[in-house]
Symmetry: C2
């Protein structure tokens, strides 16, 4: 890192984040879930989904906009299917909902080998990778997808944005094998809209085939971007469509109306979540070569993939694992001066003590 | 179609395919599964995985090479997990194994809302899309992945092929909504090795970033291709890695030794399969806008995605559905003159009557 970071004790960070959420009307459990998740994101270097972004999203789409309802109660629907749960989140805070859903899917997987939780009327859970990473750290194979807040992405060969950036997140329990959980986690657009805005500010061009202008023609000029495209042409389109279909089966309404609370009030405007957990014992054939056990076999497979001249490749989740090591070595969460300034605006909003730059250790 | 096709009655096709498989030692059930699957592929225009390719693969990697054992019995392992099964396929024919596994996953989903079947010691199942398409036609959300026969793909930023082309296949029960099941089905390489060979024959160049030469440098010259790359850079790499990880958890051995029966005999050389089925009722929140039911809601979501100027976009699975319509209208399976010639070589191999071109109707 060439930027200077300040080391903020996790307790101090969490106290401010909890205060900010409580100030906005969320209850203690919700505020604690939001603080825990933000600390988890910051610890792993996920600056796009730290507490500042979470509170900003809550402002744009959440408790300020009617998309999220503080203290909402999750309603668990009757189901005839033992390994499945269906919830109406009633627009409860996404982080609190997602933590509970993943824990429930884990409990189902413990019993049935695989379990799923479908969540209707949800609110943005921020970073799907965080939930599957935690489940994978506990020893499970975990997956989640959601429909992203806004339809910003055009279908393959299309002109108008009707799909969300619709992320997929998979986590694998590989800590024994490689020291950290492998986490495969990305949006199905080439870039995020935030990245377009950043490139516009910096006067830079977009990568090829990442966006279209208002007429649906491909552009690399961030000032002309009207919508994003899916990565990998028809393949990313298919992956983005999966989230819309799963959301549609669960209870999500038209993608172009998502989070657009001012349009067609009879339609729904909420995203949907899907969670799935697999117990690794439930797919363990027990017949590994060379007398290996399951973890040793997975380790051998990974070593083969990254061998033979591929030693400079990295594994998905490795950058986040390295960030966590740096955070832990520094003894606190790492924030830039600009981020700390933004935290102080949050402190002002909720009447908490502001943070003094001088009180923090520096880390390079 | 500008090429001329001959209309071969499905019964005539199936009789020859069954005879060919029986001639190679497969039992009646296996031969019937192989014929059924080949007809299914040909009906949907999947010429890369028709009976000719299936028998060719059997020759290269299967019953001729020790990778597939005719009349092998599937061994179902004890499991403490009610919604999960773990099988040792003992190198049984992939099509027979996959049909049975998908049927089993459907039965589990009927009971638990979601079910999974993990298969160790498998043999190539050809076209994953075919199995999920059939499950989706029956009303289920279905998924499968497998580890591809050979390690032909380099990891992102790598130089040496250590990953299979590792396909993923998802099927959705959308026949009520759009007239056919949406099937998202592709390999995680930009192109298949067969496509490279085809371009070499035609003197054409590869698309950019699809392959590397023997030194690991990107090339578009099909004659210089030593290995393939994943689509979508690190995103396709992650998707390919998923299959290796799932295969490793099930019981697959080192990717670079897969199907390489002559190398390191103490290691395993078989691929692994993974099947998963979700009952759509198990994720139905029952609270669709505008009084829609689940199928109507999914239809509304799809219409929104393909509306607003996106009317020329197609859905994944639409090309295959259109091919099936053409096949059905023609009244039989459609094969080119070259393909019929190849079928007659198969007929000669197994002592069956050869096909006379004159006996078939033509279709354009």
């Amino acid at each position: 890192m060439s930027e200077t970071f300040y080391v903020v004790p996790a307790e101090q960070h969490n106290a401010l984040v909890e205060a900010a959420y409580k100030h906005r009307g969320f209850d203690a459990d919700e505020a604690a879930a939001a603080a825990k998740f933000s600390a988890h994101a910051s610890r792993h270097g996920i600056r796009t989904h730290n507490a500042l972004k979470a509170l900003h999203l809550d402002h744009l789409f959440g408790s300020f906009a009617g998309g999220c309802v503080p203290s909402a109660k999750i309603e668990k629907k009757e189901s005839r299917f033992a390994a499945s749960e269906i919830w109406n989140a009633n627009k409860k805070l996404g982080q609190a909902t997602a933590y509970e859903a993943m824990d429930t899917a884990i409990a189902l997987a413990d019993k049935y080998g695989i379990g799923q939780v479908a969540v209707d009327n949800a609110f943005h859970y921020l970073w799907g990778g965080g939930y599957v990473m935690e489940a994978a750290s506990k020893g499970y194979i975990a997956y989640t997808n959601c429909t992203a807040a806004l339809a910003e992405v055009v279908p393959f060969m299309g002109k108008f944005p009707t799909l969300g950036t619709n992320p997929h997140s998979w986590g694998f329990p590989t800590t024994d094998a490689v020291g950290f959980p492998i986490v495969i986690d990305w949006a199905t657009s080439v870039v995020a809209m935030g990245r377009v805005q950043q490139l516009a500010r910096e006067g830079k061009q977009l990568p090829p085939n990442a966006a279209v202008d208002k007429d649906g023609n491909v552009t690399t000029d961030p000032a002309k971007v009207a919508a994003l495209t899916t990565f990998g042409a028809h393949k990313g389109y298919g992956l983005s469509l999966i989230n819309e279909l799963v959301g549609g089966f669960i209870g999500g309404s038209l993608p172009t109306l998502r989070s657009r609370w001012d349009r067609v009030p009879e339609e729904k405007h909420t995203p949907a979540f899907y969670f799935q957990v697999i117990h690794p014992d439930a797919i363990n054939g027990g017949a590994f070569a060379m007398g290996r056990n399951q973890a040793q076999n997975v380790k051998a497979v990974i070593e083969d993939v990254l061998g033979h001249g591929n030693e400079s490749c990295i594994l998905p989740g490795q950058i986040e694992a390295n960030a966590a090591k740096q955070t832990d070595a520094a003894g606190g969460l790492l924030f830039s001066e600009a981020e700390i300034k933004a935290f102080n605006e949050i402190a002002e909003e909720c009447g908490a003590d502001s943070w003094s730059l001088d009180s923090f250790k520096k880390a390079e």
